[in-house]
Symmetry: none
Subunit: 222 residues, 4 copies
DNA sequence: CATGAATGAGTGTTCATTCAT
DNA sequence: TATGAATGAACACTCATTCAT
């Protein structure tokens, strides 16, 4: 007659505890003991639900990544073009406590992803997905004519990098980069993206020819 | 008289060893023992030259920061406007092994700066300086007429965030963002910055007279 | 359910091991490693049952103090007057191996109690109790008429000091002060105490009726 | 051309520094570094003037012992009998800062003398000398008729133990046993010694009218 | 399912000591 | 004579992990 405990629920509780510890103590200061204490359980229960410490941390990271990914997807619903793009980018910024927590977890694993091959692969998996989403969203803007023809992947790399950097800067110095400031930076970037391309293109409807190696998106020669 | 050893030189050697260990093992895996071994010395030598572990790590970070800062300053020499701005931004990117190492060290301390107040202050010190340098460089571009009037600080925040994000992305996924790709992203961002603002400035030709070597640093299209 | 181990028993075992190490190696030579080895366990077990080293040592001292206190109390049972006093004092002397061990532990902390405020307070707590017991016992002798009226607290200070000094002298030089010698010193001190005061008490015979087992505890002269 | 430094003077300075460190930090907390710092010299100089740490500590103890011994001897000058005895005993009590310091040093080595054979021998050397001095002084009192015939060595053991215990008690709890209290305890002890014996001396009646009836307290021979 | 007991490896740090100058 | 450099051993303590219950 086992206790009525949902295995997955218990796991999620522990991952949640791990999140809070990581946020409070940093990844280095995160110990199984601390996670157990935060979850109000014994030390051994953590290794009961997870293989080992690595396993908990990986789970914590993955849950963070999947939550952010879900948010981004949901942010796109009902929107299109630049509006959708901006909404999606905003989901990766630490605009409120929830997103701050999730992003903090992610950033905590960045250093690891630089040194460690396995962590790098893990990170690439999620990062590539995001990059593809952004690229697709940019492509959508182009097709809608909101921005002129351009190297979509390069723009995606730019936006991803901008939001990554903006996010970590805001986490480190929230008073310098409060939510409104972050939004402004992203909005202006998108405005520049638009104005730097579309004003050169009076006949932009026809523009969709753009594809392939394409014209010179940057020097506005087109 | 004591043994002939230059105190500062020895300290630098140890900091160098610390760098290599941080790069190889990550900040968490960096132990005094490992640093000592890397420096080819005994454990106790580290606490002979440094107060404690915190002291070594702080020294390692500061040396990294000051080297990057020096590079940025030197990159500006003899240049002006967008050319100078681009050169300075490039110095913060992991374009070669030296810069990769230095940036890796910096990024390793980011997570710490989010959780820990003291680390945050330490980071802010160096980050603010950089932001000011970039802002001043942007202002220079405006005055030169290379870009139109704009919110200089906001643009600085954007560029700093972009380079921060681009740097860490490139460190994590060097094959995805090789040096040339990084340069391209930055160049295009500056390009957009120019084209999105200067068309609002009909009198820019006159202003361009002020400039030194060349008005169109990026594509020379004119 | 966890392993069947009695927590307190295990703690006592470790304290016992600590005692033996302190006796053998001295307080300075007492390391957690040595205690663990003496207890036949791993190093970490000590910090499993105790907060830290300070905690073990404090426990070791307190157990020693409480054992001695218990002995003193038991020694008084069924006795009164000088007989009781002598018995109680004797319990603080290193007359056999058990008492030698316990006293050795106590003396080991004396130096600490001189320098360190906290240790001093800790020592005072136990020392005051003892002094009060002795004073009360002396008072009893006075009331029984075995010794004449006197400054009871001063006599208590004297006896406590004598036994403290005699104990440590005997621990350092057991061959010079074997058990019989220690007993003799105490007995003669009490003898002097009696003979130097009781001539002032002409009515002491009548009072002696009150006493229990025997009125002339020391020489039985009546 | 060597510096003009008197070897012995320098040694004494270091020993003095060691004293202060022992008093402040306790014997366990006394490190060569701390002694060197206290003496305002480098670490290596300590091992230059002394073989090793043991050597410094031994020297510190011996200097303390010899100072106390010299004091005791000087205290006897011009005095005789009980007066001399009391003066000599007083020199072993922590009645002022100097004596407190010296006694503190001594007591710090007691625990060591219990465990360690060599320290015990070292202590015995000085303790025996003192005991002999006291015994001789007691003998002097007997011969002067100030106290009656008695077991001189036993009385010496008593007085030595009393002063040892009183000294350490006063060091641990100076507010409980201020100088005056210590003197009182010793004086009363000597008074009891006198009054409990001298009435047995029929040839001294004139001197001690006041004595009572009392039997011979110790041998009960009557 | 859950837990306290127990461990061994490893942490930063301190120490007395030796060495070259 | 004097000193900083350098070391290796030892310290208390923490950790992730395993085991028996």
């Amino acid at each position: 007659m086992p206790k009525f405990v949902d295995h997955d629920t218990r796991r999620d509780e522990i991952v949640g505890a791990a999140w809070r510890v990581i946020q409070r103590e940093g990844l280095e200061g995160t110990t199984i003991r601390a996670i157990a204490a935060e979850a109000g359980a014994s030390t051994a229960i953590v290794t009961h639900y997870f293989q080992d410490k690595k396993d908990i941390l990986k789970s914590a990271l993955r849950m963070s990544q999947s939550r952010i990914a879900r948010r981004r997807k949901e942010a796109l619903k009902g929107l299109a073009g630049l509006e959708a793009l901006e909404a999606s980018l905003a989901e990766s910024l630490p605009l409120d406590d929830d997103r701050r927590l999730e992003l903090h977890i992610e950033v905590s694993f960045w250093a690891r992803a630089i040194s460690d091959e396995e962590s790098a692969t893990e990170h690439l998996r999620s990062h590539d997905t995001w990059r593809a989403v952004i690229a697709s969203s940019v492509q959508d803007c182009v097709e809608l004519g909101e921005i002129g023809p351009c190297d979509v992947l390069e723009v995606a790399d730019t936006l991803v990098a901008l939001v990554d950097g903006l996010g970590v800067d805001a986490l480190m110095h929230p008073e310098r980069l409060p939510p409104e400031r972050q939004r402004l930076v992203v909005r202006r970037e998108l405005e520049r993206l638009r104005s730097s391309t579309d004003h050169n293109d009076p006949v932009r409807e026809s523009r969709h020819q753009r594809v392939g190696p394409g014209p010179q998106p940057l020097d506005g020669a087109g």
